[in-house]
């Protein structure tokens, strides 16, 4: 896979989405993973994140409700409401930046790196549906034509949505190439 080594380094050192088909780094060895404890930790992450975000909404005078959840191995925090576009930004870039700061706020309180997922105004859900549709259409073309096809540059979250979808399909595979913010998914024919 193109350029996977530097990305692995970046992933383990930072708090990226793990947007590419690289095995997620194993959880830190010092936390023996007791399932119930793990969920309690993730719930606590969500609460810390919610406090941080609620105070921000208050200051900038935006209305939003906080929905907290745990999905798999990560806390999911959603700011729900209308008029939140400023916190999403073009291509979701403000949302990604806010997620990064929120993860740092959790790290500051817990001492543990967080992989929490933030959504604002339903942006990720909408984007996920669009990307699945796109990837399905491109996969059909690639399978029929036998030629790889490059998608537009995407955020780690967006690339992960595409990789996850492609992994469920026969006859196609996906990889990422290039460096952020130009990193993009290539869909190619496979066995």
């Amino acid at each position: 896979m193109t350029g996977s080594a530097p990305e692995l380094t970046a992933d383990s050192a930072g708090a990226t989405e793990g947007g590419d088909p690289v095995p997620a780094p194993a959880p830190a060895a010092e936390t023996p993973v007791n399932g119930r404890q793990r969920i309690a930790d993730l719930e606590q992450e969500g609460e810390i994140a919610a406090d941080y975000l609620e105070a921000l909404l208050d200051i900038v005078d935006m209305d939003g409700d906080l929905d907290l959840d745990v999905e798999g191995e990560r806390a999911v925090v959603a700011v729900v409401g209308e008029g939140l576009e400023l916190l999403v930004g073009a291509r979701g870039e403000t949302l990604e930046a806010l997620q990064e700061l929120t993860r740092l706020a959790v790290l500051q309180k817990t001492g543990v790196r967080s992989r929490l997922m933030l959504d604002v105004g339903g942006h990720r859900a909408r984007r996920r549906a669009e990307l699945r549709e796109l990837a399905t259409a491109v996969a059909a073309r690639v399978r029929a034509g036998g030629q790889p096809e490059k998608l537009k540059p995407m955020t780690p979250f967006e690339r992960k949505v595409v990789h996850d979808l492609i992994a469920t399909l026969d006859g196609v595979a996906s990889e990422s190439e290039g460096e952020d913010p130009q990193r993009r998914v290539v869909i190619l024919p496979a066995g």
């Binding site: 921000l56 200051i59 900038v60 930004g89 403000t94 930046a97 806010l98 990064e100 706020a105 500051q108």
Partner: protein, 77 residues
């Protein structure tokens, strides 16, 4: 309001929240939010490769408009 928002975002990610100060400077080149933190927190606010400072700029530009700049001031003391 913008000062308070940035101050809140920074206070949440540093070891010395009480040492965080944000001032708005308006000049010919537009508005700049100047952030001052405890010297030990400078690395946290800038982040690896400037990543955290970039995230702060992106969020503040989202909330306050494109022309809004954020400067992390490296105070010599």
């Amino acid at each position: 309001m913008l000062e308070a928002a940035l101050e809140h975002l920074v206070r949440g990610i540093v070891d010395h929240p009480d040492d965080v100060r944000v001032d708005m400077q308006s000049g010919r080149r537009g508005r700049t939010l100047e952030v001052r933190v405890h010297p030990d927190d400078l690395g946290k606010v800038i982040g690896r490769g400037g990543r955290t400072a970039r995230a702060l700029r992106t969020v503040m530009a989202g909330v306050g408009g494109r022309g809004l700049r954020v400067d992390v001031v490296d105070v010599d003391r």
